[in-house]
């Protein structure tokens, strides 16, 4: 009985600390996705612009920066490090799946997967890791301030992730992304042509 209680308690905790934030995260993504693409078919000119402009901006912002909002929910609901990492990767993961699937319409699976290294996609993926590192330190700071936690705010792992991600993003964008884009193209030719 005690074991059962313990097991039930674990399940409830898991739903609270992982499933619930995951549903919030995916739900927001799907709602914004649906509104944005549906708004293409709104006939009223003003409403059309309103929807595409505002929801389009929100959708793009959410795809790129969702980790900043999702990670703290996982953190303060008690998700473990691995759970936080998995949970905060959901949107990026689904976005990548959507993009790779889209590419499979005309390209091989290998070429479609290689699309994840395309500057925009690659930066979305890389940025999500950088934001996880940043969010981890931000959450620790909040925990220390409001929950009297004795955690160290800045530790080598999240800090180094943030620095590495920043360096990669600066490299990929430094000349308007031109160098990285042509490196990507050259690599494509080597691999697939």
């Amino acid at each position: 009985m005690t074991a059962m209680k313990g097991s039930l308690s674990t399940v409830q905790l898991f739903s609270k600390r992982f499933v619930f934030p995951a549903i919030i995260s995916l739900g927001t993504f799907l709602i914004l996705f649906w509104i944005y693409y549906s708004s293409w078919y709104v006939n009223n000119r003003l409403l059309h612009y309103l929807f595409t402009d505002i929801v389009g901006a929100l959708f793009g912002f959410f795809v790129m920066f969702n980790v900043l909002f999702i990670y703290p929910i996982f953190y303060f609901r008690g998700a473990s490090s691995v759970e936080r990492l998995i949970g905060a990767s959901f949107i990026t993961f689904f976005w990548c799946i959507k993009e790779v699937y889209r590419m499979t319409e005309f390209y091989s699976l290998g070429e479609s997967a290689f699309f994840l290294l395309f500057p925009l996609q690659f930066n979305i993926i890389i940025l999500s890791f950088g934001l996880m590192g940043l969010s981890e330190m931000g959450c620790r700071f909040m925990a220390k301030k409001y929950q009297q936690s004795d955690l160290k705010v800045i530790t080598p792992l999240p800090l180094s992730v943030v620095i590495i991600v920043l360096a990669i993003i600066v490299f990929t964008l430094h000349d308007g992304g031109v160098t990285y884009f042509f490196m990507y193209n050259d690599l494509y030719k080597i691999l697939f042509m």
Binding site: T52, E105, F118, V178, N185, F192
Partner: protein, 461 residues
């Protein structure tokens, strides 16, 4: 209907004949004390060629055609003093293949530059060769941008280009390559830089006629206007199509990391700046007394979507993408000016047309046809149908495409799981209503499918 001096058109000139005529002209002008640039004034001398190619300039972005924002007084001047082909198209709506088509008079499947990844072959023949053979001084100035690095073009005397940023060049301070030598930019803005080189070439004292190919980088993405024009259209109502979406450049693999409105404003300002530079070339021809005997052609490599079909960019086989501006002025020959010609003409028709106008033997491998009959007779029946082709260009999300475009209909076949499309352009010019599954059109569709197969196999319709 225009009035034409048919003797100009009917002759075929050999290199020997050009030298003979030029020599005689020079001698007589020399005796008269007139400088050598005056030879083009003489009616019997071969025409000079100035072909100006822009990048991504959509066909209707001309004030001559009543565009609500675009300001193109110098291109309008070309149309007023010449003709505008209002049904001009590119056979592949993508920079590298289309540029190669202008140069060779061939489809992409013939010249081999199928997309931005497949290389140019130096075995390809361009129109520079026969012009050079006929005694012309030839110059390529501007954007090359074809895979495989810079080419070795036979028949070319001067090659001024750039290879920065993968051959796309830069709007500001673009390093140049002048006849194989790297040189820094002389002017800050690329369109002005290329125009300066072109004017230098025109001004150079010559004992020969010239053939100038001026390929601008403008108005291609990033469409940076010169600094004094950056806010030119800041508060203008862009009058975008109903289905336009400000973010569409970023979504669904269209790779333009700016909003559509910002891009369009820059594009229009960049276009105005290019038009001003075209005006400088026209003015220089006037100053040199060359305008009357110079064929000036202006065209773009492909069109562009500004939100139509929820698209930005080109490539797709819809009208906004495949139509191009095409203006031709040749005062000595085309007397009835300021008119719009209806017949369908293609980018592959440029080379045969220039050779025809100059009276030079055609290159047999060309797929295109001379437009001269339409210049001579506006009522002459034009081509009935032509082949549009697009080869996939990784990583762009556009399927390989084959389409037939007739005067009224368009039938499109896509690679992959996308269904074909069939449009009645007369009743549905914006191509919003796909009739592919309409049983009413089945007999017509069957005929178009057959005709498309014939075009794919190289037949002409």
């Amino acid at each position: 209907m225009g009035k034409y001096d048919s003797s100009v058109l009917n002759r075929k000139i050999t290199r020997r004949e050009v030298i003979k005529r030029t020599g005689a002209g020079l001698l007589s002008l020399g005796l008269m004390g007139i400088n050598s640039t005056g030879i083009a004034k003489g009616k019997q001398y071969p025409p000079n060629i100035v072909f100006i190619l822009s990048d991504d300039h959509r066909w209707d972005a001309l004030s001559y055609l009543g565009h609500p924002i675009a300001e193109t007084p110098n291109m309008d001047r070309l149309a007023r003093e010449g003709v505008l082909f209002k049904n001009a198209f590119c056979t592949t709506s993508l920079c590298s293949p289309s540029r190669a088509s202008f140069l060779t008079g061939q489809y992409a499947h013939s010249h081999g530059v199928k997309n931005n990844l497949t290389a140019w072959h130096n075995t390809n023949s361009t129109f520079f060769e026969p012009f050079h053979e006929a005694g012309y001084e030839t110059a390529f100035i501007g954007k090359w941008h074809m895979p495989g690095g810079l080419p070795k073009l036979r028949g070319l005397d001067h090659f001024i280009t750039f290879n920065a940023d993968g051959g796309q060049g830069r709007y500001f301070n673009c390093p140049m390559i002048v006849d194989g030598k790297d040189v820094p930019s002389r002017k800050e803005y690329i369109t002005e830089e290329l125009t300066d080189y072109s004017i230098d070439f025109i001004k150079k004292k010559k004992d020969k006629p010239f053939c100038l190919y001026l390929a601008h980088k403008a108005v291609h993405y990033q469409s940076f206007p010169p600094k004094d024009m950056q806010d030119l259209y800041e508060n203008v109502d862009l009058n975008l199509p109903r289905e336009a979406d400000n973010w569409v450049g970023i979504t669904d693999g269209q790779f333009y990391p700016q909003t559509l409105r910002k891009l369009y404003r820059d594009y229009l300002a960049c276009l105005k700046a290019m038009d001003q530079q075209i005006g400088r070339v026209l003015d220089e021809l006037d100053r040199q007394g060359l305008a009357d005997n110079t064929i000036v052609v202006y065209a773009a490599d492909n069109g562009f979507f500004w939100g139509e079909h929820h698209l930005l960019d080109k490539r797709w086989p819809y009208e906004e993408s495949i139509r191009i501006p095409f203006l031709l002025r040749y005062p000595k020959l085309v007397k009835k000016t300021d008119r719009k010609i209806d017949q369908m003409v293609l980018n592959i028709d440029l080379a045969p047309t220039l050779l025809d106008l100059a009276g030079i033997q055609q290159i047999p491998s060309m797929d295109g046809e001379s437009m001269v009959p339409y210049l001579m007779n506006s009522d002459k029946p034009g081509r009935k149908a032509w082949l549009y082709e697009y080869f996939s260009d990784y990583p762009y999300w556009v399927p390989e495409t084959k389409a037939i475009r007739t005067e009224r209909y368009k039938y499109i076949e896509y690679q992959g799981r996308r269904s074909p499309e069939f449009f009645d352009l007369k009743n549905d010019p914006k191509e919003m209503n796909n009739l592919y599954l309409s049983s009413l059109k089945e007999p017509l569709l069957a005929r178009l499918k057959t005709d498309l197969d014939r075009l794919k196999h190289g037949e002409r319709l």
